[in-house]
């Protein structure tokens, strides 16, 4: 570890706010990307199931007059 103490590490000389806000933003952007993609995944599953169900119902309808 380069820093003498944890307080030093947080302070980063006088640059703490700059460094930590940049890293926090990175975390937010990455997690937001991941969150959106995982949410879309669930939505895709639901959409496909709905479409397939509708297809099935249509096929049944055409079978029985």
């Amino acid at each position: 570890m380069y820093f003498d103490s944890f307080a030093d590490f947080v302070a980063m000389g006088t640059h703490g706010p700059y460094v930590w806000s940049a890293y926090a933003l990175t975390l937010i952007v990455v997690l937001a990307n991941l969150g959106v993609i995982l949410h879309q995944g669930r939505k895709v599953q639901a959409t496909i199931r709905q479409k397939l169900r509708r297809q099935q119902l249509q096929e049944q309808d055409s079978y029985e007059p």
Binding site: M1, Y2, F3, F9, M12, G13, T14, H15, G16, Y18, V19, S21, A22, Y23, L25, T26, V29, V30, A32, N33, L34, V36, I37, L38, Q40, G41, V44, Q45, T47, I48, R49, K51, L52
Partner: protein, 261 residues
Amino acid sequence: MQQRVNQAETKTATLWQWINNTFHRFGSPKYFYDLTGKLLPWCWAGVLLVLIPGLIWGLAFAPPDYYQGNSYRIIFIHVPAAGIAMMGYAVMAFAGIVTLVWRMKMADVIAKVVAPIGASFTFLCLVTGAIWGRPTWGTWWEWDARLTSMLILFFLYVSVMALRAAIEHPDVAARATAVLSIVGIVNLPIIRYSVNWWNTLHQPSSIRLTGSSLAPEMLYPLLACIVGFYFLFAVLVMLSARNEVLLREYRSAWVKKWLKP
């Protein structure tokens, strides 16, 4: 002699065949889905074993910069983010060429999912650059060549996404966005060489094939972060592309296997 020529010819023929087959296999959505399913755990491992240690190394163990102090530690996210922003655009434009020339449907899946991910890394690069610029140059923003061309890259990503969203017919949208992405390629060499062509506030690149100007204690964690960000990008693109493939191919029999009960 004649025999040797024939042998060489067969070899090139087989190689060409292999390239051709691989290319066509990538065009198959099912093959793509199976392949990314196998690759994803390895890329996640790359994120955990390369990116996270690299960031901790850069934040806590690398020495501070002689001139910039600790603010330079932003380099460990700023430079990889810039790399992803440009590489992502190149991927999107290349996928656009494949869409136009070979009409491969997988290429458009990639082009579609790379756009928002690339845009978010471009945004990250711009904002971390601004945060770094404040203590280093005394300003958040300057209309210099490197910064302006990077901002244009962000606008290019956004306009590609907007164009796709504006066109209802998926095939037309695929071709229109492909053309726009390909035209935007001219911006990539401008970004790359802007620090050499113009007198800019932005420092020239520190990593070069012929001797880097960074000390090894800073260079190694930076390289780890760059490789780690590529893994992260791969994870995001593959996850997102898998969603898109399922949605586009829901009529195929193989998709049913992937429907969660």
